[in-house]
């Protein structure tokens, strides 16, 4: 005999399914800093990524790395103009992706420096 699914418990089932399934969201970003994704922005990125519960990964043409690890981010050696995909997986994936994406959109608040830095 089939279990009876009422409108009420259907909503409940959807809620349970959503909370158990992992939300995966992604977007493309471009490295806009003339110096590329060097140590300072990699540090900022890892710090931001660690604020979120979701898994944050960065994908280049050849690699998939952990966005919460500065060592991993640096292995991308992403120069100016490089396109990457940021992928967030977990309960706060959307918010995390928005925060990480905004770092790239703002060029990590990096101003062009001519003072040797």
């Amino acid at each position: 005999m089939n279990p009876v699914v009422t409108r009420e418990n259907e909503a409940l089932l959807i809620e349970i399914r959503d909370s158990m399934s992992e939300q995966v969201v992604s977007r493309e970003v471009v490295v806009g800093m003339s110096q590329g994704l060097h140590a300072r922005p990699a540090d900022q990125l890892a710090r931001e990524a660690r604020k979120w519960q979701s898994r944050i990964e960065l994908l280049s043409d050849s690699q998939r790395v952990d966005g919460k690890s500065i060592l991993d981010v640096l292995t991308l050696a992403a120069e100016a103009g490089t396109r990457l995909v940021v992928e967030a997986t977990g309960p706060d994936a959307r918010e995390a992706l928005e925060a990480i994406g905004s770092l790239f959109d703002r060029n990590f608040n990096e101003q062009e420096r001519n003072d040797g830095q």
Binding site: Q35, I70, T75, L76, G116, Q117
Partner: protein
């Protein structure tokens, strides 16, 4: 990029005496002067530039490793060196741990790609915990040089 492309082997130090961030940076920069990689007259300016970069955010990237660096117009190619502190130095690292392993880089202002590829190589190799541990327990500069050579021969040249 391999370690041998930018590490001045004569400037490798397996025991730094300094116990402060600036002290270690100065000792490493001096070792680059002694090895002939940078000019003595540029020492102060390079140390100052590296410290200025540290003020923007520590280059202590965790796991007891720091990568102090700067661009400097006095060099026409990327130069760097490696040093180990057995006691560890407070570097205001990401994870708050004292730093034992230092990679210092000085790069020409117009070569951001080389700098990125050196950072890539360092971080890729340092993900190997055994490599990190072996570097930190190196008995002399030759040990470090051999470990770097071994890493170069295993890694994929890029």
């Amino acid at each position: 990029m391999k370690f041998s492309d930018f590490v001045a082997t004569d400037a490798i130090r397996s025991h730094v005496d300094a116990h402060t961030k600036e002290g270690v940076i100065r000792e490493m920069a001096q070792s680059l002067v002694d090895a002939g990689s940078i000019a003595a007259g540029d020492l102060e300016s390079i140390v100052k530039a590296i410290m200025k970069r540290e003020d923007l955010g520590s280059t202590g990237i965790g796991r007891g490793v720091a990568v102090p660096h700067t661009k400097h117009p006095s060099v026409n190619r990327l130069v760097g060196t490696v040093a180990v502190s057995h006691d560890g130095v407070d570097f205001e690292s990401l994870d708050g741990e004292p730093v034992q392993l230092f990679f210092l880089l000085v790069s020409p202002p117009d070569r951001p790609g080389d700098h990125l590829r050196a950072l890539e190589n360092i971080s890729r190799q340092l993900r190997d915990e055994a490599f990190c541990r072996q570097l930190k327990s190196a008995k002399g500069p030759m040990d470090i040089q051999h470990l770097l050579e071994e890493a170069d021969s295993h890694g994929v040249a890029s």
